[in-house]
C-alpha cells in the first residue's frame, strides 16, 4: 500500500489539489465580496495595473496623435465648437436641475431618485473572454460599494461585484451571470418588463427575454432598466432592439439588443451612488 502511494504520490496529490480547486470554484461561483487575502492582493495590484494602464493609454494616445496629426487642427476646431455648445447645455441643465429640485420639493417627492456619480478609470480587464469583468480605480475609500450600478455616458454597463479600498471589480452586463430587469422606454408598460441578459449565441449582444407575445415592442426601441431588480436604478439605457423573435416553445418572445455602451472600449465609467437628499436651503446657493 505504502509502495503504491509512493509510486503514485504525484498523481494523487495532483488529483487532490484539482478536486479541492473544483470544490472551491463551485463554492465561490455565486459569491459577492472578497476575502481579506484577496482584498490585500487587489490593493497591491491596483496601483500596478493603473501604471500599466496609463502607460498603455500614453502609447495609444501617442500613436493616435501621430497618425491623425493632419486632422488635429480640424478636430480641435470642432471640439471647441462642441465645448461651447456643451457649456450652454450645461448651464441649461443646471437650471433644469434646480427647477426639478424645486418642483420635487413642492410635490414632496423623495429626492432619493437622484444619484451621485463617482467617476472611475478602467485599469484592467479580464482578458479571458469567459468572464466579463473590468477593474476600476475607485474603491471603498471613494464611496464605492458592492452592487452599485456602473454606467457610461452611453448607458448601463454593469454593477460592482466586489470592492477593495482602492479598486473595484465590475461585472458587465455581457457576463452570463448577470441579468437586469428591464422595460421598453417608449411604451413603459409594466406588463412587458423583461429580463436582459448576455446572448450566448451572439457574444457582445444582449437578449431581453420573458416578453409576452402581445408585448408592445418593435425594432429600434430603447430598452431601459426598470428598477425592479433592486440593484439597478430605473431609467438607465441598456440597449436598442435589433430584432424580435419567438422563444422555443412559442409562449413568449425575446428581443435581441445592441448594447448602448461599447463594452470593448470602456475607459471611463461612473459608479452610481445613491446620494442623500440635497441639503435644505441649498436652493439659495443656486
Amino acid at each position: 500500500m505504502l509502495a503504491f502511494l509512493k509510486k503514485w504520490q504525484k498523481m494523487i496529490t495532483l488529483f487532490f489539489v484539482l478536486t479541492l480547486l473544483l470544490v472551491l470554484t463551485q463554492r465561490t461561483v455565486a459569491r459577492q465580496g472578497i476575502t481579506v487575502v484577496e482584498e490585500a492582493l487587489l490593493t497591491v495590484a491596483a496601483p500596478v495595473q493603473g501604471v500599466f494602464q496609463r502607460f498603455t493609454r500614453s502609447v495609444e494616445g501617442l500613436l493616435t496623435s501621430v497618425q491623425g496629426y493632419r486632422f488635429l487642427a480640424a478636430e480641435n476646431r470642432r471640439l471647441e465648437d462642441e465645448l461651447a455648445a456643451a457649456l450652454v447645455l450645461a448651464a441649461r441643465l443646471t437650471e433644469l436641475r434646480h427647477e426639478n429640485h424645486r418642483l420635487r420639493q413642492m410635490l414632496n417627492f423623495e429626492a432619493s431618485s437622484e444619484h451621485e456619480l463617482i467617476a472611475a478609470e478602467v485599469i484592467a480587464r479580464d482578458p479571458s473572454s469567459w468572464f466579463q469583468i473590468i477593474i476600476i480605480n475607485k474603491g471603498s475609500l471613494h464611496g464605492v460599494e458592492q452592487n452599485l450600478a456602473v454606467i457610461t455616458s452611453e448607458g448601463l454597463v454593469g454593477s460592482v461585484l466586489s470592492v477593495s479600498p482602492v479598486s473595484a471589480q465590475v461585472l458587465l452586463l455581457t457576463d452570463s451571470r448577470r441579468a437586469v430587469s428591464a422595460m421598453v422606454q417608449r411604451s413603459r408598460e409594466p406588463g412587458i418588463v423583461g429580463v436582459v441578459e448576455a446572448d450566448a449565441d451572439m457574444p457582445g449582444y444582449l437578449r431581453m427575454i420573458n416578453l409576452p407575445r402581445d408585448a408592445n415592442i418593435q425594432s429600434g426601441d430603447t430598452i431601459i432598466s426598470s428598477g425592479l431588480g433592486g440593484i439597478y436604478p430605473q431609467g438607465f439605457v441598456l440597449g436598442y432592439v435589433l430584432e424580435i423573435a419567438e422563444e422555443e416553445l412559442g409562449h413568449l418572445r425575446f428581443a435581441l439588443l445592441r448594447p448602448a455602451a461599447n463594452f470593448n472600449r470602456l475607459e471611463e465609467v461612473f459608479v452610481v451612488a445613491p446620494s442623500a437628499a440635497p441639503a435644505r436651503g441649498s436652493e439659495g446657493a443656486y
Binding site: 482578458p127 451571470r177 457574444p203
Partner: protein, 172 residues
C-alpha cells in the same frame, strides 16, 4: 531568489495581460501571457513545480480578474503539471519544441473553461464551436510567437539557476 523572480514574472504578465494586451486588441482575441509563462516555466522544471507555478498563477488570475476562486487555478495547475511531465522529453535548448507545445496547451486552455463551466453549472457566454473558431486560432498563433520571444530568456535565466534551484528531471 527564484520564487521572487517567478512571482514578479507572473505579476508582470497579469498586469500586461489586463491592460496593454487588452487595449491593443479590442476585438476580443487577446493572448494569455500567463499561460505562456506557466508552460515555459513548467518546461524548464518538472511536473511538481509546473503545477505549483500554475496554481499560483491561476489563483492570482482568479483574484485579480474576479473569476470564481479556483477556476483558472484548476486549468493552470493542469497545464503546469502536463507541461512539466513533458519537460524531460524535450530538448530544453531548442526553442521550437516549447513553441509547438504551447499550441496544444492554448487549445487545451481554451477548451477547459467550457468543460469546467459545464461541470459547475455556470451559464455560457459562447458556444464551444463558436469560441474555438473565433478566438482559438488567433490566440494559438499569438502564443506561438510570444513563446518564441520569451522562452530563450527564461532558458538562459534557468541555466544560471535564477528560476529553479535544480529541476527534478535532468532534461535533455
Amino acid at each position: 531568489m527564484g520564487p521572487i523572480i517567478i512571482f514578479l514574472l507572473l505579476t508582470l504578465s497579469l498586469a500586461l495581460q489586463g491592460s496593454f494586451l487588452v487595449l491593443i486588441s479590442p476585438t476580443g482575441v487577446h493572448p494569455d501571457l500567463v499561460l505562456v509563462v506557466v508552460v515555459a516555466l513548467a518546461l524548464l522544471s518538472d511536473s511538481k513545480r509546473g503545477a505549483l507555478v500554475g496554481l499560483v498563477a491561476g489563483l492570482m488570475q482568479d483574484i485579480v480578474f474576479g473569476a470564481p476562486l479556483g477556476f483558472f487555478a484548476f486549468i493552470k495547475v493542469l497545464v503546469g503539471a502536463m507541461a512539466g511531465f513533458l519537460a524531460e522529453e524535450i530538448n530544453r535548448d531548442f526553442v521550437l519544441a516549447p513553441m509547438l507545445l504551447v499550441l496544444f496547451f492554448s487549445l487545451f486552455n481554451d477548451l477547459m473553461p467550457f468543460i469546467l463551466k459545464e461541470l459547475i453549472n455556470i451559464p455560457h457566454s459562447f458556444s464551444l464551436l463558436q469560441y474555438l473558431q473565433q478566438f482559438s486560432p488567433g490566440r494559438m498563433l499569438m502564443h506561438f510567437f510570444i513563446m518564441g520571444l520569451i522562452y530563450p530568456y527564461l532558458c538562459r535565466a534557468q541555466k544560471r539557476r535564477l528560476l529553479f534551484r535544480q529541476a527534478e528531471g535532468s532534461g535533455k
